[in-house]
């Protein structure tokens, strides 16, 4: 478990070093919330890819317990926005779709985490 929670922490610390001020208490109502990553299935895809170099379509499906259709729709949306990258290949004769998180996607997840922390912070202060 240590590795995962430290990856989680590292993602947060790295971001807070860059200054969390962008999302101040004033914006607690979350007008600039990243809707793309906020949706549960997409948030799960991005989180899962944050701790794995790559995951295949089937792995993600099993891991997140979603249907084929649901996963492909949300993965496509993330791909179109440049949050994840997708490579298609063949494993023998079986087509294989592999996803990985892009630098852009990782930044967005960090930003989203900061946003959530700012929301918590804001209510604590207020």
């Amino acid at each position: 478990m240590a590795a995962k929670s430290s990856a989680f922490r590292a993602a947060r610390e790295e971001k807070s070093k860059q200054g969390t001020a962008a999302v101040g208490p004033a914006t607690a109502a979350a007008p600039n919330l990243d809707r793309l990553i906020h949706e549960r299935t997409r948030l799960a895809i991005v989180s899962a890819l944050a701790v794995n170099a790559t995951l295949t379509f089937n792995e993600l499906k099993q891991l997140l317990r979603v249907t084929d259709g649901n996963l492909s729709v949300h993965a496509r949306k993330l791909e179109d926005s440049g949050y994840i990258a997708c490579t298609k290949s063949f494993d023998g004769r079986v087509p294989k779709t592999e996803y990985r998180l892009t630098a852009n996607g990782r930044r967005s997840l960090e930003k989203y985490l900061d946003h959530m922390e700012a929301l918590i912070q804001a209510t604590r202060e207020g």
Binding site: A3, S47, E117
Partner: protein, 190 residues
């Protein structure tokens, strides 16, 4: 739900997904079951050996078989999931698993040299347990728990008559592998 509760819930969701995703592969439950079965067989064969040396050789042969099973089942589980074995969680597992096993090999040689082969059971169980605990620190929770059980069994074995050694090895490498292998196979995808 208040805004900050929702934010907390979102963070928890991300963390849980990361934990689940990070421990998806590597350890094969069916491999554990197979190793348990061969270990029980080895225990039976070993108990019939007249000399301590033949007893040791039987268990060493079982160790070689078990390593083969572990490599093969782990490899095929990683393959079927489409992940590379020696990147990410798999590599971390191997890196932290190997050092205690290496110490185990050296201590076995030492025990042979000082003619105390019969004491090897506790040492093996302890060090294998240590390897599983350290390797499993990056894996699903049930893996380090299995390692801990091995360590407890090994510790008890150290303070019991050395004639019980074969029984301890059967209980550990046979019994614990079967039980935990079954749990992992049932709950964590094979």
């Amino acid at each position: 739900m208040a805004l900050d509760d929702r934010a907390r819930d979102n963070i928890r969701f991300i963390r849980e997904t990361m934990e689940r995703a990070g421990s998806f592969t590597a350890v094969s439950g069916w491999g554990g079951v197979a190793m348990g079965i061969t270990a029980l067989g080895a225990a039976m064969i070993a108990s019939r050996q007249e000399s301590t040396l033949a007893w040791l050789v039987t268990w060493l042969a079982e160790a070689a078989v078990a390593i083969g099973i572990a490599l093969w089942t782990t490899y095929s589980k990683a393959r079927s999931a489409g992940t590379a074995l020696f990147t990410g969680p798999g590599r971390r597992f191997v890196y932290s698993f190997a050092p205690p096993l290496f110490v185990g090999v050296l201590l076995t040689i030492l025990l042979v040299r000082i003619s105390s082969i019969a004491e090897v059971a506790g040492v093996w169980l302890l060090l294998y347990g240590t390897a599983v605990v350290t390797g499993g620190a990056f894996s699903i929770r049930v893996v380090p728990l299995m390692g801990l059980c091995f360590m407890v069994l090994g510790a008890v074995a150290l303070f019991c008559p050395s004639s019980w050694g074969n029984g301890f090895l059967a209980a550990g490498f046979g019994g614990l592998h079967l039980v935990f292998g079954g749990v992992i196979a049932g709950k964590y995808g094979g």
